[in-house]
Amino acid sequence: GDTEPHARLPTCYPYGNLNVDELVQRLAQAGLADARVDDSKEGLVITLANDDVVIQINEFATHIISANSSLREKLRDILLECLGSF
């Protein structure tokens, strides 16, 4: 039902530095070949203009901003492949 308590346990804990070159390569393999990487004040920004996605990356965090759930899930899985996790 609607009132059941939601699960708060994450499926995994990602760690380590993100290799941006590897990420861009994996995006291309997944058919997202238009990734543009720019420097910003806070780190790097990857823009996927065709899909209206922005990915902000710094040493400790990655932020995916999108308007498409299935694409977000695909991007999340690609990111997790590029990070260590337990």
Binding site: P14, Y15, N17, A61, H63, I64, L79
Partner: protein, 115 residues
């Protein structure tokens, strides 16, 4: 639970990072949901507050401002006025650790507000 120097201990996740000498990498997601809503942003914030309180329980949903709600002290919802009235954007933001709650909220909001 971590094993180190032949001893075992149980630590919170954040303490364990330090013990293991590795740096956690936070994943955050923000999903934009375009909605059609006539009237001021505050009215949309208020109707979203009512809906989510009904679905999750009133103690779970906090009003942060006229444009912002937070759920269970973790998921943040921002409401933006699109210049193109009656268009508005709901920005739902959560971390990977709160994936279950984040995707549940996304479903609820889409089912009730998506144009």
């Amino acid at each position: 639970l971590i094993m180190k120097n032949n001893s075992m201990k149980i630590l919170g996740v954040n303490e364990a990072w330090g013990e293991l000498g590795i740096v956690s990498h936070q994943l955050r997601f923000t999903e934009r949901i375009e909605v059609e809503h006539i009237g001021p942003v505050q009215a949309l914030t208020s109707s979203l507050h009512t809906l989510l309180s009904q679905k999750l329980g009133t103690t779970q949903v906090q009003v942060v401002s006229e444009y912002q709600l937070s759920v269970a002290d973790s998921v943040v919802i921002n409401i933006q006025d699109d210049n193109d009235d009656p268009g508005k954007n709901i920005l739902l933001s959560w971390t990977h650790q709160d994936e279950a709650l984040g995707s549940k909220l996304l479903e609820i909001i889409k089912a009730n507000f998506k144009k």
